[in-house]
């Protein structure tokens, strides 16, 4: 009896040993290298070769896996060496030497989606195992693995976890999550249960599906109940943050609308001029960014910052020229300013086409505008939207300050309330008109700077925003910058709320109809101007 047990145990150990080392027997790392660089190899063979390589301790392995994952791995038809494409050059995987032969001898190593997924896993694993990397980078890749590893891979992770628990407790904790997420697929109800208990506090949207699955299909009733609880928790968190995200997107869209409309509020509300060329003044602002970036090709960020004052000046001066040459002949005839400024908008558009051609220009988005702050797995704040909101608020409060606390603002308000009386008091209304129009146009230029980071910079940039900005002005009540702010934000948020429900087009139509109906109820907008001169 004992003998049988011993034999049995020996056999078991032997088979285990054989199993573990089977892959090592099958391929050496050099053989695996040869398999990958041979175009005859099947996908399965390549996959196995990649696994073999990832187990080996060759130095070039992480680079190779990373390149293969991103389809940057090439083989040479001449000498069966592997090359990595980086920065336009091909480097030999083993020797790092630049490829010197003919380019047509290099062919991309073909992989399929299964290999690509496995490679992604392998490269995350490599990062985890690489002790020379920073803890943050390793935690990041542990994070990426949650819900993606199989139970067989988990044992390898367990080893990393056990070796790093004393030095890197945070990494070990994250690895616990990864291992638990693999254990959710275990055959044993108890292991699944334990895994769920570990993952209960981890708010990860990736696992929602998994928990829902367990809640419905698990063989163990207590597991189902527990999973149901976690699932409800997770999905309510998710819907909360998707609400927050909608709000955030809405505010950033609203900021764009406010930026586009606020200059119009001044020219339209304060001066009674319908400036159809407002969109083209924004276009000029956007092109200013392009020109500045051409002038400072090595520093697009600085160019963008410098183009804020530049765009204000360029658009503002254009505005003053328009006022002095055309609009001053048309005061008191708002509908005719519409026609003349439409003519101006055609001239400006065509002018831009003549100077810069009709093609869209490529404006570089500087590094500090790309990327995002991750709040949690459900929600992250993208920098570009964040800066747009900040920029909009800055412009808004600067404008409010000018109108409220400066000499020009005082005169503007005086002229808009009662032109004749203001003139009697010694306000040079001609000059005020020109400066007000310049101010409104300059702000259009600033809006253009913001838009250059969001949409294509081309001759039609202005036209796409002009209808929207008029709506914002009318909705908010002309001449009232707070009204514009509220209206712009309302329309922006409403747009983003309706978008997922009704679709982008229908959402926009609903908003237009909403504004039309609103104007019926309040013909002068949210915050109407009061006073004697309001009604004709």
């Amino acid at each position: 009896m004992i003998l049988i047990k011993v034999i049995y145990k020996a056999l078991f150990t032997l088979s285990l040993f054989l199993m573990l080392s089977s892959s090592a027997f099958a391929l050496t790392s050099d053989e695996a290298y040869a398999v990958i660089s041979n175009k005859q190899s099947s996908f399965d063979a390549k996959l196995e070769a990649f696994y073999t390589l990832s187990d080996s301790s060759e130095k070039y392995v992480p680079v190779l896996i990373d390149a293969a994952k991103n389809s940057n791995l090439y083989y040479s038809r001449k000498d069966s060496e592997l090359y990595v494409l980086a920065n336009g050059n091909y480097f030999n995987v083993k020797t790092s030497k630049v490829f010197s032969g003919k380019k047509r001898d290099l062919k991309r190593v073909a992989i399929n989606n299964q290999i690509r997924e496995s490679l992604a896993l392998l490269s995350e694993m490599k990062t985890l195992e690489d002790k020379t990397l920073s803890e943050d980078a390793r935690i990041e890749s542990a994070h990426n693995l949650i819900g993606k590893v199989s139970i067989s891979d988990a044992s390898r992770l367990q080893f990393i976890r056990d070796t790093s628990i004393s030095d890197f407790p945070e990494l070990a904790e994250n690895l616990d999550y990864v291992i638990a997420s693999a254990d959710l697929n275990s055959q044993e109800p108890k292991i699944r249960n334990g895994a769920m208990r570990i993952l209960a506090n981890l708010n990860s949207p990736i696992l929602i599906q998994k928990f829902e699955d367990i809640a419905k299909n698990d063989s163990d009733i207590s597991n189902r109940v527990y999973a149901e609880k976690i699932y409800k928790n997770l999905s309510s968190t998710q819907s909360f943050y998707s609400g927050v995200e909608t709000l955030y997107f809405g505010i950033s869209l609203g900021s764009v609308l406010v930026l586009a409309a606020i200059g119009l509020t001044i020219t339209f509300g304060v001066m009674g001029v319908i400036n159809m060329a407002h969109g083209e003044l924004m276009m000029i602002g956007a092109y200013t960014v392009y020109v500045m970036q051409q002038a400072l090709p090595n520093n697009p960020g600085l160019a963008l910052l410098l183009s804020i004052p530049m765009a204000f000046l360029v658009s503002g001066l254009t505005g003053i020229i328009i006022e002095r040459t055309v609009i001053r002949y048309l005061y008191g005839r708002p509908l005719e300013t519409l026609l003349a400024t439409f003519g101006i908008s055609l001239l400006l558009q065509q002018g831009v086409r003549t100077i810069f051609t009709a093609l869209n220009k490529n404006v570089v988005i500087p590094d500090f505008l790309s990327g995002a702050i991750k709040i949690n797995d459900f929600f992250s704040i993208t920098y570009s939207r964040f800066y747009i909101i900040i920029f909009c608020l800055a412009v808004f409060f600067a404008l409010r300050h000018i109108l409220k606390h400066s000499r020009l603002g005082l005169e503007v308000r005086a002229v808009s309330q009662n032109r004749a009386m203001a003139r009697n008091m010694g306000v040079r209304s001609e000059r005020v008109n020109a400066l007000t129009f310049g101010l409104g146009s300059g702000i259009a230029g600033l809006a253009g700077v913001a838009l250059s980071q969001l949409t294509n910079v081309g001759p039609n940039l202005g036209q796409n925003y002009i209808v929207d900005s008029f709506l914002v002005v009318v909705f908010g009540g002309s001449g009232n910058i707070w009204g514009t702010m509220v209206a712009g934000m309302t329309l922006g948020i409403a747009n983003k709320v309706l978008e997922p429900v009704a679709g982008a087009m229908l959402g926009k139509i609903l908003i237009l109809i909403g504004v039309i109906i609103f104007i019926q109820r309040r013909p002068r907008g949210l915050f109407p101007q009061r006073g004697r001169n309001v009604e004709d």
């Binding site: 339209f268 002005v473 039309i516």
Partner: protein
């Protein structure tokens, strides 16, 4: 009616010139062969037909802008709606000749995997019903929109902006495939109208003739309106809406009546336009189209009705001419025209002509009075001298 014609000499002469050319074209096409100096080809026929539709549209806008003071920046929407109804009728006439050969469904619906016609497509295969809708659809939309807008006293610039929002909303709606109007591509590939092939010269000539006819009828409807008591009230509303209201007129209904008529005329113009051009798509609803329309009227001279005709035809002719010759320069020219016209000739081309006319008239008056005076002086001196002679005797 005759009285009306007598008083409107300028309008009659503008229409007279149009009819002269239309008849010339009809004769040129029927009696001369290709290659002859007097031959008029199919392209020119549709081109002129198109201009005449635009002219009718412009007249309808002038009715509400020139005489009622409503600057609609969405008037082309009614044109587009009329056009779409006509397009639906023509679409149903294609029958089995479409790419998919379905007797009931137009090609784009098959493409979208629809299995039945939407309810609003029912009945448009009957011409009389389509013709009714051409007037009713724009009319009803204008009535509903106008009723709410005028009732809550939305006026001036605000009204302009919400009309623009209206046409923009329609544009977005018609771009959607789900609307069932062919989405982006609109309705096209028309074959025939009332059984006559659209590509034949005789159908084109008939359509040209009809365009001229409806332009004339539309013009006289508008002329009749503005010279009637209704028109007088409209002018009063334009110049001082408050005072008119205080005098006891129900401003809303006067505005509404004229606004609706104008929309119906625009719908008719659109319906005549579509079979000649052969396509209708959502770009007709673009706010820019409506603004261009306003410009035609402004350049021609508003509040005269015939000025709108002159403006629409001249600008569109210039557009055809210049976009062929210097595509770059055309937008510059157009932009400059708008600026110069609004600043220097607020009454448009007609205004300039009338001013020249007035000067001539004054001059002729002066010479007339001068000659009369001379005559009188001569006569009196003659009389005096004869009397002197008599007294001497």
């Amino acid at each position: 009616m005759l009285e009306l014609l007598k008083r409107d000499k300028k309008g009659c002469s503008v229409l007279g010139v149009i009819w002269f050319f239309v008849l010339l074209m009809i004769l040129g096409n029927t009696f001369f062969e290709d290659g002859n100096l007097f031959y008029v080809g199919a392209n020119s026929i549709t081109l002129v037909g198109k201009y005449l539709c635009y002219a009718l549209l412009a007249v309808s806008l002038d009715l509400i802008w020139g005489y009622l003071g409503i600057l609609s920046l969405g008037h082309a929407a009614f044109f587009g709606l009329g056009g779409y109804v006509m397009g639906m009728y023509l679409m149903r006439q294609i029958g089995t000749r479409g790419v998919y050969g379905d007797p009931l469904l137009p090609d784009f619906m098959i493409f979208l995997n629809w299995d039945s016609l939407p309810w609003y497509w029912l009945g448009v295969n009957h011409f009389w019903f389509a013709a009714l809708l051409i007037v009713l659809v724009p009319g009803i939309l204008a009535f509903i929109f106008g009723y709410f807008a005028f009732k809550s006293r939305v006026s001036g610039v605000y009204l302009s902006i919400i009309t623009q929002a209206l046409t923009f909303a329609l544009a977005l709606a018609f771009y959607r495939n789900e609307m069932g109007f062919g989405g982006n591509n609109g309705l096209t590939d028309f074959k025939d109208i009332l059984g006559f092939s659209l590509s034949s010269d005789s159908t084109r000539l008939t359509l040209l003739f009809l365009s001229a006819l409806f332009l004339t009828i539309g013009y006289f409807i508008c002329r009749k309106i503005v010279s009637s008591r209704l028109g007088k009230v409209a002018t009063a509303i334009r110049d001082a809406e408050m005072r008119t209201r205080f005098m006891g007129y129900h401003v809303v209904w006067f505005k509404l009546a004229i606004f609706t008529v104008a929309a119906m005329l625009a719908g008719i113009a659109g319906a005549l336009y579509v079979p000649q051009v052969g396509i209708i798509n959502p770009s007709e609803f673009n706010p820019i189209c409506s603004i261009e329309l306003v410009i035609w009227v402004a350049v021609g001279g508003r509040a005269s009705l015939y000025g709108a005709i002159v403006g629409a035809i001249l600008i569109n002719y210039a557009k055809t001419l210049f976009t062929g010759l210097f595509p770059e320069g055309w937008l510059y020219a157009l932009g400059l025209i708008f600026i110069l016209v609004t600043i220097f000739f607020p009454k448009g081309i007609i205004g300039v002509l009338e001013a020249i006319d007035l000067k001539k008239f004054q001059k002729s008056q002066e010479t007339l009075t001068a000659s009369v005076e001379n005559q009188v002086v001569e006569n009196t001196t003659a009389l005096a001298s004869s009397m002197l002679e008599k007294s001497k005797e």
